[in-house]
């Protein structure tokens, strides 16, 4: 007869075994396994006698009294989160971008209707490129600083990355808005890189203020594994080239116009 393993007996005792009935039948007929099971039962039964202090019938009320002063009077509604200073700053940046693009398009009038539309789109794209370029530059600097972070004091075991963490939180808000804008503009390549960047920013923003060298190494490895710094540099370079390409041809100055007329 094949006897039961310790693991099978534990699984049976803890309600984790498949074929519960088959094991029960086996235990009923196998003295050796039954004895083994009884020994296991005895240990667990002894552990069950360990007392848990009774915090008292009014414990829940006491917990409430202790935590109530620490709870904000009213919970923040979902839309209230959007009026936090950090989010407002990001929203402001994008709003400024949209207004600038609108005004630039409105007041840039060249020739006919089709020229006008094309020019407006160019201006809009140029503004987006500049803004995203700056955002990528800031993100790259933060990630490089994080990759080079070390304890301020060699005796310290943990590295304080709270500055990078806060910057990552700010960049995260901007990144989300730029990624959505890039998607709306149909720029899937840029949206994809911003998506990768968002994941890394999210990891950094959710890290503890102080990390052990091992945790920091894990963050570095995540940054490296995604090749995010390389991607950010490539896209920044591409954006720079696009910016140069969308730059309007230098207009004739009034003096040269006059000269031409002469």
């Amino acid at each position: 007869m094949k006897h039961m393993t310790e693991e099978e007996l534990i699984a049976y005792r803890e309600g984790l075994a498949e074929g519960h009935t088959a094991i029960s039948e086996h235990l009923a007929g196998c003295e050796q396994c039954r004895a083994e099971f009884e020994r296991l039962e005895a240990v667990l039964a002894a552990l069950d006698t360990l007392p848990v202090p009774d915090p008292g019938a009014d414990y829940g009320r006491r917990v409430w009294q202790q935590i109530a002063p620490r709870l904000p009077e009213k919970r923040q509604r979902w839309w209230q989160a959007w009026i936090e200073p950090r989010r407002l700053a990001a929203l402001g940046a994008v709003a400024a971008l949209i207004i600038a693009a609108f005004l630039a398009g409105r007041y840039t009038k060249h020739g006919g209707q089709s020229d006008n539309v094309a020019s407006r789109e160019q201006v809009r794209e140029r503004i987006l490129i500049v803004a995203v370029g700056e955002h990528l530059g800031h993100s790259e600097r933060m990630l490089v600083e994080l990759s080079n972070a070390e304890p301020s004091n060699p005796a310290q075991k943990e590295v304080n990355i709270s500055a990078e963490q806060h910057r990552a939180e700010d960049l995260l808000e901007e990144n989300r808005l730029y990624r959505q804008t890039a998607l709306q503009e149909g720029d899937t390549g840029l949206a994809s890189v911003l998506d990768d960047l968002e994941r890394v920013l999210l990891d950094v923003a959710h890290s503890p203020d102080e990390v052990t060298p091992k945790q920091l190494e894990a963050i570095r490895q995540k940054i490296e594994a995604r090749g995010i710094l390389f991607k950010v540099r490539v896209v920044s370079k591409e954006l720079q080239q696009r910016q140069e390409a969308t730059q309007p041809a230098p207009e004739q100055t009034s003096s040269t116009k006059k000269e031409g007329k002469v």
Partner: protein
Amino acid sequence: MNRMQPSVESPQAIADSDALAVERTLAGERDAFRVLVERHSQNVFRLAYRMTGNQHDAEEIVQEAFLRAYQKLGQFAARANFGTWVYRIAANYAIDRLRQRQKEESRREQPSAESKDGMQDDPMSRVADEAPTPERLTQSMELRKQMEQALAALSHAERTAFVMRHWEGCGIEEIAAVLESNSSAAKNTVFRAVQKLRQALQPLVGTRAQARAMGTEP
């Protein structure tokens, strides 16, 4: 006060009442959260105490778990069970607390040879006596000490898995979520915990019949 007694309510009635309290809290009624705190504090305390073995730590975990639950209430899925959810928050925080405590202890430069009660801690007392006398075994305080030491010797993950499964009857998926692992790994952690406890305590406990005779079986 809208307090309901868990002992006389069906699980469905509790879940419905919890869902209503969550909804009202989310709508800005802070006092609605009180119902949830008063209803679930005892259970969370029991879990926290079994995970830490320390009443002060357990009380701190209970408070922190409810504070975190309040802050994250917007993320709580309405269909989920609030009791299970706050349990998970408490278990996660208890693991952090255990890690922190371990770190603090390892930082102490000169570990004291004295135990908490000021008595000299004889390392030999941690070793299970190969041939314990019935008199010694009947000393439930001694056995209790050994059991507490055996639990303390488990890794944080093993202790969490054992407490959640054996004492709190949590599902493997739930344990896996707290341990940030998969179901198979969580199951193995439960097995490992029981094996270690058995190894440490069986020489003291013997068989179930002996345990019954010793009065260590409920």
